[in-house]
């Protein structure tokens, strides 16, 4: 792992054009090892595009992304494989492979990246499934037989399959009831402690922002306008930030704090 001063993930001067639309311009973002960073911003501010760039699915038009200290603009397929081993991604809608059971979903990355025995992989998969907060009975089920909350957990279990150092979550608590969402936040905090994870997540969930994040990067005007702890962020005078946190839902939360 990199030294504490070094960012585990660093994006510099990102510019993204999609179909003639300028999505990002001069965007900088850094993520420190061991922190939980949330990316927030209004709808259409390019959060998901940014996430896709950070997990190396989409190449920015301009700018560089450094993951674990190495430049990701030119990576050999071999090095890319190594990088992928260190990154776990949980997609918004789970993106579980529908033809496989939950356990097989979790085992798939392990089968591809390790040469451990199948029995070992099965037990490891069960460990990940329980770590993600799923009951063991869920392991044999197909994704179509799971509830929304269980799909999220199963997706988390798959993201954790290879013990990634860096975990990306796209709206992990969207669509969950408050109790499940709270439990999910706790689960993430706990896993961060236990496995030494660094977490980058997109979220709209005010409770998650207050409860589970170390810093919050705010996306507006095509760039990250602020990246600071939530308590400081809500006091940030930037008009977009004020508008975001002045909504009725956010205001209630602030009074509580």
């Amino acid at each position: 792992m990199n030294g504490n001063q070094h960012a585990i993930l660093q994006a510099k001067g990102l510019e993204t054009r999609l179909g003639g639309n300028l999505i990002h311009q001069n965007l900088d973002l850094d993520v420190r090892p061991g922190e939980i960073l949330a990316i927030v911003g209004g709808s259409g501010s390019g959060k998901t595009v940014l996430l896709r760039e950070l997990i190396l699915l989409l190449r920015p038009t301009r700018g560089t992304i450094h993951l674990f200290g190495r430049d990701c603009s030119h990576v050999s397929p071999d090095a890319m494989r190594k990088l992928r081993e260190q990154i776990g991604v949980m997609f918004q809608h789970g993106a579980l492979f529908t033809g496989m059971s939950v356990a097989e979903n979790v085992m798939l990355p392990m089968q591809e990246h390790t040469r451990l025995r199948r029995s070992t992989l099965e037990e490891l998969a069960m460990i990940k499934i329980r770590l993600a907060g799923l009951p063991p009975e869920a392991a044999a089920r197909k994704p179509s037989e799971l509830s929304g909350g269980m799909v999220k957990r199963a997706a988390l279990a798959r993201a954790l399959a290879l013990d990634p150092e860096l975990l990306f979550l796209d709206e992990p608590t969207a669509g969950l009831d408050p109790v499940s969402a709270g439990a999910f936040d706790d689960r993430i905090l706990e896993l961060r402690e236990l496995l030494g994870l660094t977490v980058v997540m997109i979220t709209h969930d005010m409770d998650s922002l207050w409860r589970a994040t170390d810093r919050v990067a705010f996306l507006a005007d095509r760039r990250v306008v602020a990246n600071q702890p939530i308590a400081e962020l809500t006091a940030n005078p930037h008009p977009a930030i004020q508008a975001y946190f002045a909504g009725p839902r956010a205001r209630d939360r602030r009074i509580e704090q």
């Binding site: 356990a103 990246h113 451990l116 490891l124 460990i127 197909k142 013990d163 236990l194």
Partner: protein, 361 residues
């Protein structure tokens, strides 16, 4: 022996552990031994590594060897404790294989339930569609026209080519024996009967089933997955009518026209071969056609087309609507719709032959 030290070094993360796993399983000790685990040289320990160490401890305990983890760095101990807590030795992933008898029974009942499901679908489809058909101005004519374009107009090039080639093949194969008897001109009769009565409607049905039926099943199946079908139902629309009826009407119109086109192209293919290979001039060929064809041959072919169209649309829509849950089942539905459509088309064709024979057509 007391005080055996087990020293682990290097990278203990999952991708590197295959060799370690094998070596750990070969370790054995004598009952009553006390081993010491030392992981101070481990640069990276992940949950797979921790799991292997925990499993080693359990395996050794079965041999009554104790493995002391007291000297471990606290991070490693915490991880191993976590894994030990969450691991459930022998927890089955639960991929029980079904016996051959079970599978035979299941597939048998599935055939039965599929037939019942198909009838159920046809009934509901008719029930949903009837009110629309009785008030023709409420039929979605725009969609019907769209379906005619997709299923009919766009199929013209491929169908034309295939029908032409079929005509060529029949003329070639049939011409040689006829030539031996000097009965070249009967090639026209042969072509007219085989193309018009059988080949053109069948070719058309097979192409449409493969091209259009599969698309119907995939489209409706995907809409099931994305809950669009449920959304239609909630809005108060009847999905069978809205999705399947325009396809049905469209294909009922398009198929006879396509069959007619296939007739023409097939005869054209045969005519070219008859002229170049068997010395039947174009004018002779064309003059012979009215004598060779009873009008019934033509109509027998055309009348099959709407029946085939109804089979293809109902089968592929049924399979589309039967999709459940996974993307995989969309693929299955598509395959099934094509295979069963073609199968039933041929069955229907056989029934037609028998019936036409009985009524002397």
């Amino acid at each position: 022996m007391d005080g055996t030290r087990l020293v682990c070094r290097g990278d203990w993360s999952a991708p590197q552990l295959a060799m370690v796993e094998r070596r750990l399983q070969r370790l054995s000790g004598r009952a009553g031994d006390n081993w010491q685990l030392d992981t101070s040289g481990v640069s990276q320990l992940d949950s797979a590594g921790a799991f292997l160490l925990d499993r080693l401890k359990r395996d050794l305990e079965k041999q009554q060897v104790s493995l002391s983890m007291e000297a471990l760095p606290s991070r490693h101990r915490a991880l191993i404790d976590l894994i030990a807590e969450t691991a459930q030795p022998g927890a089955a992933v639960g991929t029980a294989r079904k016996g051959p008898l079970v599978r035979l029974g299941e597939s048998t009942t599935e055939i039965g339930s599929q037939a019942a499901g198909y009838l159920d679908f046809v009934g509901r489809f008719a029930l949903d569609s009837l009110p629309r058909l009785l008030t023709p101005h409420r039929i979605r004519w725009k969609q019907v026209v769209g379906e005619i374009e997709h299923a009919g107009v766009n199929a013209i090039p491929i169908l034309g080519l295939l029908a032409f080639l079929t005509g060529v093949v029949i003329a070639y194969q049939g011409g040689t024996p006829l030539e031996q008897y000097g009965a070249n001109i009967l090639l026209v009769d042969l072509l007219a009967i085989t193309m018009l009565r059988e080949m053109a409607p069948l070719m058309t049905a097979i192409i449409v089933a493969g091209r259009t039926g599969s698309a119907y099943a995939a489209q409706i199946g995907t809409m099931r997955i994305t809950e669009e079908v449920d959304a239609l139902r909630v809005i108060g629309l009847t999905p069978y009518e809205i999705l399947a009826l325009p396809k049905m009407l469209g294909l009922l119109v398009a198929m006879p026209l396509l069959t007619l086109f296939a007739d023409l192209m097939g005869m054209l293919g045969g005519m070219v071969v008859a002229n170049t290979m068997f010395g039947i001039g174009y004018d002779d060929f064309l003059r012979r056609i009215p004598e060779a064809i009873y009008p019934s041959s033509f109509w027998v072919g055309i009348i099959k087309a709407p029946v085939f169209a109804a089979i293809i649309v109902s089968i592929s829509c049924y399979h589309g609507f039967a999709v459940q849950g996974s993307t995989e089942s969309v693929g299955r539905a598509t395959t099934r719709s094509v295979v069963q459509s073609i199968f039933l088309v041929i069955v229907a064709d056989a029934i037609f032959s028998v019936v036409f024979n009985i009524v002397n057509l």
